[in-house]
C-alpha cells in the first residue's frame, strides 16, 4: 500500500466527518441529526481502520467493532426517543425525563 492511498483514505475519513458535522449543525430534524451522528461515528471508525491497515495490526478493526456496538446502542435508544417524541397516539412529552416521555407527558 503506498502512502498516497493512506492519505486519500484519511482525507476521506476527515471529509465524511466534516460533512456529518455540518449536517448535524444545519438540520433541525431529529432523524437527520441521528443520521449525521451515524456519519460521524462511521468516519471515525474508518479512520481507525486506515490506521490499522497502515500498521498491519488487527487493533483498528477491533476498535471499529466497538464503535459499531456503540452506534447500535445509541441508535436503539435514539430511535426509541424519536418514536416517543413523535407521539404515536399519545400526547407530546414536555421534558427529557425518560419516564415522562414514555407516559407521554401527562
Amino acid at each position: 500500500m503506498n502512502p498516497a492511498d493512506l492519505e486519500l483514505a484519511l482525507g476521506l475519513a476527515a471529509l465524511l466527518f466534516v460533512i456529518g458535522l455540518a449536517g448535524m449543525l444545519a438540520r433541525r430534524s431529529l432523524v437527520f441529526m441521528l443520521l449525521c451522528a451515524e456519519i460521524m461515528l462511521n468516519a471515525g471508525g474508518f479512520a481507525f481502520i486506515v490506521a490499522g491497515a497502515r500498521w498491519g495490526a488487527p487493533d483498528g478493526q477491533v476498535i471499529f467493532i466497538f464503535l459499531l456496538v456503540t452506534a447500535a446502542a445509541e441508535v436503539a435508544v435514539g430511535l426509541a426517543l424519536i418514536l416517543a417524541l413523535s407521539g404515536q397516539g399519545r400526547g407530546r412529552p414536555k421534558g427529557l425525563d425518560a419516564d415522562e416521555m414514555r407516559r407521554g407527558g401527562d
Partner: protein, 174 residues
Amino acid sequence: MNPVLAVSAAVAVASTVAVVIQRKAVHALLYLIVSFFALAVAMLALGAAFAAALEVVVYAGAILVLFVFVLMMIGVEGPVPSLRAWLFPALLAILLFAELAYALFARPELLEALSVAAPASGAAQVAYAVPAPVPPKAVGLALFGPYAVAAEIAAFLLLSGLVGAYHLGRRDKA
C-alpha cells in the same frame, strides 16, 4: 494511487453530501446505505475484509434497517418519486458495482483484502511500509484475547441499550 479506493471515496463523499441535503428522511437513509457500501469497498481496498463485511452486515443491514422501521412507523408522506429521481442513486450504485466487478475479475491485486496474508514475522515486521492485510482470524484472536474485557463491556452496553429502548417503548396498561 489505487483507483478502486479513489472511486469508492468519490462515491462515498457524493452520497454522504446527498444524505445531508435531502428533504425526505427516507431518501437520506438510502443514500446513507450507498455511502456505507462505498466505505465497505474502500475497506476491502485497504485490506480490512472483516470490517468491510461488518460494515455491510451490521451497519447497512441492521442499524439502518432499524431507521427504516422507525421512519415507516412515524409515517412517510408525499407522492411516489418520479423516474428521474432514480438517476443519481442508480449512477452511484452502478459505479460501485462496476468498480467492484473490475477489481474482482480484472485486477484482484487492487483489493488488498484478497491478497494472500504474509506471515507477520521477521522481515514483514521490520518492513512496515508494506504491511500485510489483516485477516479476520487475527481480528477475532485480538478481540477475544487482549480485548476480552472490552468485548464484555460492549456486551453490557448493548444490553443497557436494549433495556433503555424497551423502557422507552413500553406501553402502560390503561
